[in-house]
């Protein structure tokens, strides 16, 4: 076996690239002992024929090797694997690091470069005009944030600003804040993109650039405490900005945490019964990445008449909707969509409403409900359900 092993096919280990990757990922992969629990738990294992070996990706990162495979881009960074990793490897960090190596070689999947360009030109990843960022507000009256006056900044985020479905969530949230008599403001068209999309597809240097800009903008506006609609924005502010900025000057919360807080303080009252059987789909970036599984449930459980049931997988074991890790900008073949499985779990739990708290989750789940032609299940956001408990006459749609 030994002789002839050193041939042209052999891969020579490149120390330079390894060092670069170690720097990009803080050496996240080094401690991996290659047990493969990550591969085994990865939801792609059930969604797709053939093995998506997360472990092999970790191995490549350990050695500083390029991963040119299509599989590298499948990862939704749902962090199921991280929860099961006996060595506590930050697998999502490693995946993003490997993706960056591919960016360097200009070999990324179609569509991703334009995502970065859109952020660059439009301040959002959705190729939408910056001037329409606050169009969702419509007839609502939301003041521009003033640190002297407002206790919180509502950070709407790109998706809730432009996506028609997500806009409804933003509007519901505004109603709730108003009902709780909260003093808050937003940044209107000047709200900067958080850069999560760039980070999720692995372009860490560009993310760091965006983060620096955004952070600078926040400082100019006197922002210290912000509440996000998307758990993805919440996650970068909370977990990646401090590292990128080398300081920890932003206090970020997810809106479910904020609402739960308002409930506890008895500033928000959800008194109107909502007689629905409801299940909660935990967004990965709320549950696994940020250990928040209680707040959304506290809100739902505060609503009279509402029956909260759990799906087979919930809390930190929740199944991913398939929308993270840049997957929102990539095609997923029908039959391989994670949300399909999730919707079936909701049906199995005999829920009438599947509730979530993330614009990506809402979009993926709703697509799946439509594609599967399911009639007896509605997809709603926590804020939308809470609004129902606020007023006596309000339909699920405006």
């Amino acid at each position: 076996m030994a002789k002839g092993m050193i041939d042209e096919d052999s891969v020579v280990i490149d120390d330079e690239r390894w060092l670069e990757l170690v720097e990009l990922t803080n050496g996240a992969a080094t401690i991996c002992y290659q047990c493969g629990a990550c591969t085994a738990i990865c939801p792609w294992g059930e969604a797709r024929e053939g093995t998506v070996s997360i472990r092999a990706m970790m191995r490549q990162a350990q050695l500083g090797l390029m991963d040119r495979s299509e599989e590298l881009w499948l990862c939704t960074t749902c962090a199921q694997c991280e929860a099961h990793c006996p060595r506590g490897v930050n697998i999502a960090d490693v995946i993003r690091g490997l993706r960056y190596l591919v960016w360097q070689q200009h070999q990324t999947p179609k569509g991703l470069p334009s995502l970065l360009w859109s952020i660059h030109w439009n301040n959002n990843p959705w190729t939408q005009p910056p001037s329409l960022r606050s169009a969702w507000v419509g007839d609502l009256h939301i003041p521009i944030y003033d640190p002297g006056q407002h206790e919180i900044l509502l950070y709407v985020g790109c998706t809730a600003s432009y996506d028609r479905r997500a806009q409804q969530v933003a509007r519901s949230l505004v109603s709730l804040f108003d009902a709780a008599d909260t003093s808050f403001g937003f940044l209107g068209d000047e709200e900067p993109c958080c850069g999560e999309a760039a980070l999720s597809v692995g372009h860490k240097p560009y993310f760091q650039e965006i983060a620096a800009d955004t952070f600078h903008r926040f400082q100019e506006k006197g922002v210290r405490h912000l509440v996000t609609i998307s758990p993805h924005c919440y996650d970068v502010f909370r977990n990646h900005y401090p590292a990128a900025m080398g300081q920890n000057c932003l206090e970020a919360h997810h809106y479910t945490q904020c609402l739960a807080h308002l409930l506890r303080e008895e500033r928000l009252h959800l008194d109107n019964p909502v007689e629905r059987r409801v299940t909660f789909h935990d967004p990965c970036y709320l549950s696994r990445h940020n250990d928040e599984t209680a707040a959304p449930r506290q809100i739902l459980q505060a609503i009279p008449g509402l029956k909260l049931v759990e799906m087979a997988h919930s809390g930190i074991d929740a199944l991913c909707c398939g929308g993270g890790g840049g997957r929102m900008w990539l095609e997923t073949e029908p039959g391989q969509r994670f949300a399909d499985r999730r919707v079936q779990e909701a049906l199995a739990a005999e829920a009438e409403v599947i509730v979530s708290a993330c614009p990506f989750c809402i979009a993926c789940l709703e697509d799946s409900v439509k594609a599967q032609g399911i009639q007896n299940l509605v997809v709603m956001d926590v804020a939308e359900v809470a609004v129902l408990a606020l007023k006596t006459e309000m339909s699920t749609r405006e």
Partner: protein
């Protein structure tokens, strides 16, 4: 001032420490939290890698503890407080009540009426016990106990219930006993051997424990495969009682896992391999083991792994992410990491190797003791003093898993080692003296007294005791016979004493229960009236008659009469035997001045013995002198050697540098040594610490290519800060894990420590290895640390040698990366070969009659329970001479050797039980067959072959197995208490009536007799045809016993003994049962020529745990007897 030592914990480490201490003249207070000593070893089925039956080898030690006059067992007890200083600690102990007095006869009548059914902890909750119970059949102390918290009489029940009291024949139940009592003891030192607990696998939710009844822990599986367990040794699914078609073993469940315990639990790999092997042995066809690294670090472990592989077990490198119920079966998802394939499989049964964790309550205990715990919650060791044995408080020592996970031999070694250190704090020794009683006169002509016990209704309920007594009175030589309600009860013992004196009885037969549990009691009776204790014979009519023939009272009675007649015949031929006292020089020689030799020598000197340390070189330190840092603790090797050297000088060891042994001879207690410097020594004990040498590689151009060095070369380079290479690659297992050479143990950890040091200098460092075996304390953490620092790890095929798997050429190391499935080239400026160990050659082995293991290292007495002893009495092993070890293991074993040697030397004489072989010189023809077969080299040839009287039996070395007596064709050797004449008389008595309906069963004392006892304890019913004769070892059985049996018309003969398998033997006498097998084959050929059908003479190995197997075999033999009796009915002789 104290002559006592406290031992906390009665598992195998605590048992070993207690026995060594007691032998050395310490009074031992053994405190055990549970109702019985024995610990976890007592409930294990077999031990790896030899597949010894666990309880078979442990039970004799437990009973030795029980009977030792220097040991006080306090069960159900815990230490409350410790005050004072080394040499003078004052210990407060709280002991909970048993509510059953020592009058308990262990008849189990109480348990059958107790209405409270509870899960039995000793069966991992898979079977039940009652509120009054005995944990295991071998429980020590023996009396039953009441679990008062569960008894109906206690709150919250308050239901008056005295069912147990009502049925208890000797009324030994006392509900009014004080619930607890406090006792105070003054001790010189303390040994903590509190063992370990296991992680509740429910905490790892993804592994599904609790979600499906067929997902079990390793301990539960251990009970499933145990004959004495809840299923009688059948592997069946708790869910539906069916045999599983396939089974999966999962390793590292909660170990090596940041979320739970980061350390390696050390012994799970091996027991899981053993489980896999046993599963195949039980007929399971699909056996899979999911592992990450197989840590088969010990002697013979790697070859056991390959054997299990060859037997058909499938080893897959991977770790499940999910184990969930899938209907009746269990779904497991994992990645087969060698094929990069996600696998979803269904299993009928899944076994989890859950992590070893600190013993429950250890932190409270250590707080009371005033000693520190480490970050994982195990006892913190002062490593540079004594490996892992010394704690942070002087005078308190740790042994076994209390200081971190450890397998049995390592725990045993630490038990002995802790004993050695504890002894150094003692100022006095205690030797109990026999009562001074006028010996009875007139014992020449036998006057037999027979006492038949009712044991309440245990015997009398089945056997007609009066009829047996009447029959006994008719037997020749019997001058007195009587029945007794409980022969063992205090007042009844008195009755026996009075009868002996009144009737001038000088041979005593007690027909009652097992000599294994009660002989010592009745020996005491004889001693008290001045009768030699060897004039007693017990007849086991309870365990081997009434308990096993409940439904045939008549046959049981007639069997009891046969048994009594056999005992009387033997008793008539008993002779008084005296314990002999042999000379002993109270000095020791330690050969080899490496770390093991240094440690052993000072520990011996500190016990007060003249100790000589021999070193062939001009300086001490051996291999450790070649090291810079000692991993994983990071101790400077030079610091360690300085502190050890200082200790040597302070303890007063006589140092002989540049000196070797010229000749060495003699026998235990009296070895004569001629040194190379002309000096002569006479010593009582010898510790061989001759060490091992580093393998000098021939691989990868070592020696020619300056870029290729060994790990020891690197150690020097690092010490001199002289590493110029930037890209350094290590290759592990060079000259280790190949052929007969096993794992070198120390090198993974040491290599990783070197790699980490280099990495910290900014080098690019790679390790190319087989399984990473960082099993030792803090070693897994070091491994993790090295990875985090950026040391890259690669795996090569563990079935290949390094040169088969790797190629070094043009500054690159080429290999196939198992993790990625591609060929890689690693840029390498310097290649470090991590080389294994080789045994050193010496001239001692032959002179001391030591054996070598298959890897060439010196062979220990027993791989589990005798790691520091040899088959040559008085010669002990320390350090790497016995097999590869790291520094802390070498030190622990050195202390063990010092403890063992110290126990031997302490008394100044060798006390020898009078069961050693007796030489009848005039019958010897000098054929030397006995010399060849003696398992202990205790017979010396003292003249030319073929001349009369040319052997000498070294009494001090003889262990009394009787192999020689059976081998001798000229009856020139006989075994006291089991003489040829006595056994033949037993045979004749057994076959006096209707011999064709009987099967003679020859048993050995340690296993098969204990197995037969257990069949009784378990009330396993079998036919009444068996007549059991006991000797010490199956190798005692002579051809004449067999031929005489058939001459007398026996229906069948069954030879039994301790288990002998391909992998090992439970034999108490160093594989003497190999001769049993050889002789049996010979007898069978011979009997066939005499037209005795082969099925009438059979051999069956029966372990002490195999009551069921014993009963089954007897049933089978009964069919043989019946078949034979039908085919050729015996014609009545005229």
């Amino acid at each position: 001032m104290s002559d006592s030592v406290l031992v906390i914990g009665g598992g195998i480490a605590g048992i070993q420490a207690s026995l060594d201490l007691a032998e050395a003249g310490a009074r031992v207070v053994l405190v055990e939290r549970e109702p019985t000593i024995g610990g976890i070893m007592a409930v294990l089925d077999k031990n790896f890698p030899t597949l010894d039956c666990s309880i078979c080898i442990e039970a004799p030690k437990m009973s030795e503890v029980d009977l030792h006059p220097n040991i006080e067992i306090l069960s159900l007890a815990e230490v409350e407080s410790v005050t004072g200083d080394p040499g003078d600690f004052r210990v407060e102990i709280r002991q909970r009540a048993r509510f059953v007095t020592d009058e308990c006869t262990r008849c189990s009548d109480c348990t059958s009426v107790c209405p409270v059914v509870l899960p039995n902890e000793y069966d991992s909750g898979m079977a039940t016990r009652k509120a009054i119970y005995t944990p295991i059949p071998q429980s020590t102390p023996g009396p039953y106990l009441i679990d008062m918290a569960q008894c109906l009489n206690e709150p919250p029940n308050f239901l008056p219930c005295d069912r147990c009291y009502q049925v208890c024949p000797p009324k030994s139940i006392d509900f009014l006993m004080h619930k607890e009592r406090f006792v105070t003891r003054q001790v010189a030192a303390i040994v903590v051997a509190a063992g370990y607990s296991m992680l509740d696998p429910r905490k790892l939710r993804e592994f599904g424990y609790g979600a499906h009844p067929d997902i079990l822990t390793a301990m539960e599986f251990e009970r499933l495969i145990n004959s004495a367990g809840p299923t009688g040794g059948e592997i069946i699914r708790p869910s539906d009682g069916r045999h599983p078609g396939n089974i999966l073993f999962v390793l590292c469940v909660g170990s090596r896992d940041r979320r739970f315990y980061r350390y390696c639990s050390r012994f799970c790999c091996m027991y899981s391999i053993k489980h896999a092997y046993q599963a195949i042995d039980h007929g399971l066809e699909e056996v899979t083991v999911l592992y990450m690294d197989i840590r088969a670090y010990g002697k013979g472990f790697d070859s056991f792994w390959s054997r299990t592989n060859e037997a058909g077990a499938r080893f897959v490198r991977g770790r499940p992410s999910r184990i969930i119920p899938n209907g009746e079966s269990i779904q497991v998802v994992y990645e087969d990491t060698e094929n990069t394939t996600r696998v979803e499989e269904n299993y009928d049964m899944v076994i989890l190797a859950n992590a070893v964790i600190p013993s429950h309550g250890l932190s409270e205990l250590t707080e009371r003791l005033g000693i520190e715990l480490d970050e994982d919650g195990f006892i913190r060791a002062q490593e540079s003093q004594s490996g892992l044995v010394a704690t942070t408080r002087p005078g308190i020592y740790a042994a076994g898993c209390v200081a971190g996970p450890k397998d049995i031999p390592d725990s045993v070694a630490e038990g002995s080692g802790a004993a050695a250190l504890a002894l150094s704090h003692m100022t006095e020794r205690y030797w109990p003296e026999l009562p001074d009683i006028e010996p009875m006169a007139e014992i020449e002509s036998p006057r037999v007294g027979v006492f038949v016990c009712h044991c309440g209704s245990n015997i009398a309920g089945v056997v007609d005791v009066e009829q047996v007594v009447d029959f006994a009175k008719t037997l020749p030589g019997v001058v007195f016979a009587a029945d007794q309600m409980f022969s063992c009860a205090g007042n009844t013992q008195k009755e026996i004493e009075e009868a002996i004196q009144r009737e001038n009885i000088n041979r005593v037969v007690v027909a009652a229960c097992s000599p294994k549990t009660h002989e010592s009691i009745f020996k005491g009776v004889l001693i008290r009236v001045g009768l030699n204790p060897y004039l007693l014979e017990m007849s086991n009519i309870r365990n081997m008659d009434s308990w096993v023939h409940k439904f045939d009272k008549e046959a049981a009675t007639s069997k009891a009469m046969d048994m009594v007649s056999m005992a009387v015949e033997k008793a008539q031929r008993l002779q008084p035997l005296e314990i002999s006292h042999l000379p002993l020089a109270q000095s020791a020689l330690v050969i080899g001045g490496g770390i093991a030799g240094m440690t052993a020598a000072s520990a011996l000197a500190r016990q007060g013995f003249e100790t000589h340390l021999l070193e062939k070189n001009a300086h001490l330190g051996g291999q450790v002198d070649l090291l810079n840092l000692i991993a994983p603790a990071g101790i400077k090797a030079s610091d360690l050697l300085v502190s050890r050297s200082l200790d040597l000088i302070q303890s007063g060891v006589h140092l002989h540098l540049c000196t070797t042994v010229e000749t060495i001879g003699g026998v235990v207690g009296d070895f004569r040594v001629q040194l190379s410097n002309g000096e002569k020594l006479q010593v009582g004990a010898i510790v061989v610490a001759t060490g091992a040498e580093a393998y000098r590689p021939v691989e990868f151009g070592y020696g020619d290519d300056p870029a290729v060095i060994t790990n020891l070369d690197l150690e020097t380079l690092i010490a001199h800060d002289d590493v110029s290479a930037e890209r350094i690659t290590f290759i592990s297992c060079v000259g280790a894990r190949q052929g007969n050479i096993g794992c070198a143990r120390y090198c993974c950890t040491s290599m990783i420590s070197q790699a980490l040091q280099l990495r910290k200098m900014g080098k690019m460092v790679r390790i190319v290895s087989k399984d990473i075996r960082t099993y030792s304390r803090q070693a897994e953490e070091l491994y993790e640390q090295a990875m985090a620092a950026g040391v890259q790890f690669f795996r090569y095929d563990s079935a290949c040698s390094p040169q088969q798997a790797l190629e070094f050429d043009e500054g690159h190391l080429g290999l196939f990366d198992q993790f990625l499935g591609v060929n890689l080239r690693i840029p390498t400026d310097m290649l470090v070969l991590v080389s294994g160990m080789r045994p050193t050659a010496d001239n001692l082995t032959d002179q001391l009659k030591l054996a070598r293991s298959e890897d060439g290292s010196l062979m220990e007495l027993h791989p589990k329970l005798g790691p520091a002893e040899t088959t040559t009495q008085g010669v002990y092993l320390a350090g790497t001479s016995q097999g590869a070890k790291d520094v802390r293991e070498s030190m622990a074993q050195a202390l063990a050797a010092a403890g063992k040697a110290g126990a031997l030397l302490a008394r100044g004489v060798i006390e020898k039980a009078p069961l050693t072989a007796q030489f009848i010189e005039e019958l010897c023809i000098g054929c030397m067959r006995c010399v060849k077969v003696c398992p202990y080299s205790a017979i010396e040839q003292i003249g030319p072959v073929g001349k009369e009287g040319t052997i000498k039996i070294l009494e001090a070395a003889c262990m009394g197995c009787g192999t020689c007596a059976a081998e001798c064709n000229f009856q020139a050797i006989d075994m006291p208490y089991f003489t040829r004449e006595q056994i033949l008389a037993q045979i004749d008595a057994a076959l006096a009536e209707k011999p064709e309906e009987k099967c003679l069963v020859f048993t050995c004392n340690w296993c098969s007799y204990a197995g037969a006892d257990l069949a009784g304890i378990e009330k396993r019913q079998y036919p009444t045809s068996a007549r059991i004769i006991r000797t010490m070892c199956s190798a005692r059985f002579e051809e004449e016993f067999v031929s005489r049996s058939f001459e007398r018309g026996a229906g069948a003969v069954l030879i039994t003994g301790c288990r002998l398998t391909d992998t090992g033997s439970d034999c108490h006498y160093n594989y003497a049962n190999k001769l049993t097998l050889k002789r049996f084959n010979h007898w069978q050929r011979k009997m066939r020529r005499k037209k005795i059908e082969p099925e009438r003479l059979q051999l069956q190995w029966i372990s002490a745990a195999e009551g069921k197997e014993f009963a089954e075999k007897i049933t089978e033999m009964d069919e043989v007897v019946r078949r034979h009796a039908r085919v050729c009915p015996v014609v009545e002789e005229p």
